[in-house]
């Protein structure tokens, strides 16, 4: 039999089941860490931008523009190949989590800034009238309402974070894309590997998109409904 002429998806999946499951879990793990980190950065710097906090706000603006206007692949190269020049050696896992976090954090800063700024002025005034200070108004008024306004755009960023983990192929972190293609490189089951990747990512991305629609309906502000 000539190699690569047969297509047997089932054999590919069952023979490499453990490796593929581990890899898929790695994808989910680094995605989850990236989403978490991007949320923390986004809320913090988004609030700094919305409140125009001196020094921090312009620095956050520069950070956002640099990340948004340079290729993500180049950012990975910077972390993995350029940092060691300064004695900072990060392993594949760390570079993966750091790069998706830094990337998602920049986009989330914009998402949350817009969300916080979209909270009607009268809500803030109501917070002040209730005796909350600046921090109290943020925690009890701006944060819960602003993050809800920012929800659709931030989930879109999270979906991109998940998809971006596939680029870790270039540094060899064993998430799904790296693993499936490495198996394919040995067994010449390229089409099977590509099928597994397509099905996995589409299932994941489509579920997250469906989640947006559910959450949008449930968490929309009463007056926007």
């Amino acid at each position: 039999m000539i190699l690569g002429v047969t297509y047997d998806l089932w054999a590919f999946v069952s023979e490499n089941r453990e490796e593929l499951v581990d890899a898929a879990l790695n994808t989910l793990k680094v995605s989850a860490l990236g989403i978490l980190g991007a949320s923390v950065i986004g809320v913090t710097l988004g609030a700094a931008r919305a409140y125009r906090i001196p020094v921090l706000s312009p620095l956050a603006a520069i950070y956002v523009e640099v990340i948004r206007n340079t290729p993500f692949l180049l950012q990975i190269f910077m972390f993995f190949y350029a940092l060691p020049q300064f004695g900072i050696l990060l392993d594949q896992f760390t570079v993966t989590v750091v790069s998706v976090t830094v990337w998602g954090g920049a986009f989330n800063t914009e998402n949350f800034r817009a969300g916080f700024e979209a909270v009607p002025q009268r809500y803030r005034e109501a917070g002040t009238a209730l005796g909350f200070g600046r921090l109290g108004t943020f925690r009890n008024v701006l944060f819960p309402i602003g993050t809800r306004i920012a929800l659709p755009s931030s989930i879109n960023t999270y979906i991109s974070v998940v998809k971006n983990t596939s680029l870790m192929y270039v540094i060899g972190y064993p998430e799904l894309t790296t693993t499936a293609l490495n198996i394919a490189a040995l067994t010449v089951e390229t089409l099977e590997a590509l099928t597994v990747l397509a099905v996995f990512y589409l299932a994941l991305v489509w579920s997250l998109s469906a989640l947006i629609r559910v959450l949008e309906g449930r968490l929309a502000l009463p007056e926007a409904r």
């Binding site: 690569g4 523009e65 640099v66 948004r68 206007n69 340079t70 290729p71 993500f72 692949l73 180049l74 190269f77 910077m78 190949y81 350029a82 940092l83 060691p84 020049q85 300064f86 998809k163 971006n164 596939s166 680029l167 192929y169 270039v170 894309t177 293609l181 394919a184 390229t190 089409l191 590509l194 990747l197 397509a198 990512y201 589409l202 991305v205 489509w206 998109s209």
Partner: protein, 226 residues
């Protein structure tokens, strides 16, 4: 400036950048053509056609672009030998699939945002479907497509770097090869690592192209809302 800097900069700008711009130009043209046509056709109430275009949009917006690049580069040639492409060609095709899906969705929104009265007025003037769209609906819809079109342009230019993964000579690959060459032991290289300087230079190139575009997109969006 150290001695190695000038030849590296020349190599990146003369060998790498043209590759980036060529892929971006092809990808942008293809994305606009396919995206606008698909986005307009999906507004026709004909279920099989709508379902097919919807599937196309959801698949290519859903897949990581790198996976689409691999499907085009490794997968298509496996299915049919005449569908083998060089790295830059494969990247351009993958970017067209992704970009057109993005633009089709934006076009659908823009076309559907044109009030029904405009369609009715055009029909009253005796225009058929094609005349109505060509003379009345599309001129208005295309204006609304300008901001997403400009941001897509910036995104496409950044995503041309995915060609690097399959070895296509574009700006990032030119930078990568330069880093490797300098790292090699003499007499081939210098035995020095200059990754930060070289990738920094590549970052500046992309920033200078992309920043004006994202600003322009934001400006157009603000102006069109008013």
């Amino acid at each position: 400036m150290p001695d190695w800097a000038e030849p590296v900069a020349r190599y990146i700008l003369e060998e790498g950048l043209p590759g980036t711009l060529r892929v971006a130009a092809i990808a942008l043209t293809g994305s606009v053509l396919v995206g606008v046509v698909f986005g307009t056709l999906i507004t026709i109430r004909f279920l099989p056609l709508q379902a097919l275009i919807r599937l196309y949009i959801e698949v290519f917006r859903g897949l990581p672009i790198l996976v689409t690049v691999f499907i085009v580069y490794f997968g298509l040639g496996e299915v049919a030998p005449q569908l083998e492409f060089d790295p830059l060609g494969a990247a351009a095709i993958a970017l067209i699939l992704w970009g057109s899906a993005q633009l089709a969705e934006a076009t659908r929104g823009a076309v559907q945002s044109i009030p029904r009265e405009q369609h009715e007025a055009a029909s009253a003037l005796g225009f058929g479907w094609i005349g109505r769209h060509r003379n009345v609906v599309m001129p208005q819809a295309l204006r609304r497509l300008l901001p997403p079109g400009v941001s897509l342009c910036a995104n496409i230019i950044q995503n041309t770097t995915l060609a690097q993964v399959i070895g296509g000579l574009e700006t990032l690959e030119a930078g990568e090869r330069s880093v490797e060459r300098l790292t090699a032991v003499p007499p081939i290289g210098l035995g020095e690592i200059h990754a930060f300087e070289i990738y920094g230079f590549v970052a500046v190139i992309f920033f200078l192209i992309s920043f004006p575009l994202t600003r322009l997109a934001a400006y157009l969006e603000k102006r069109l809302i008013v």
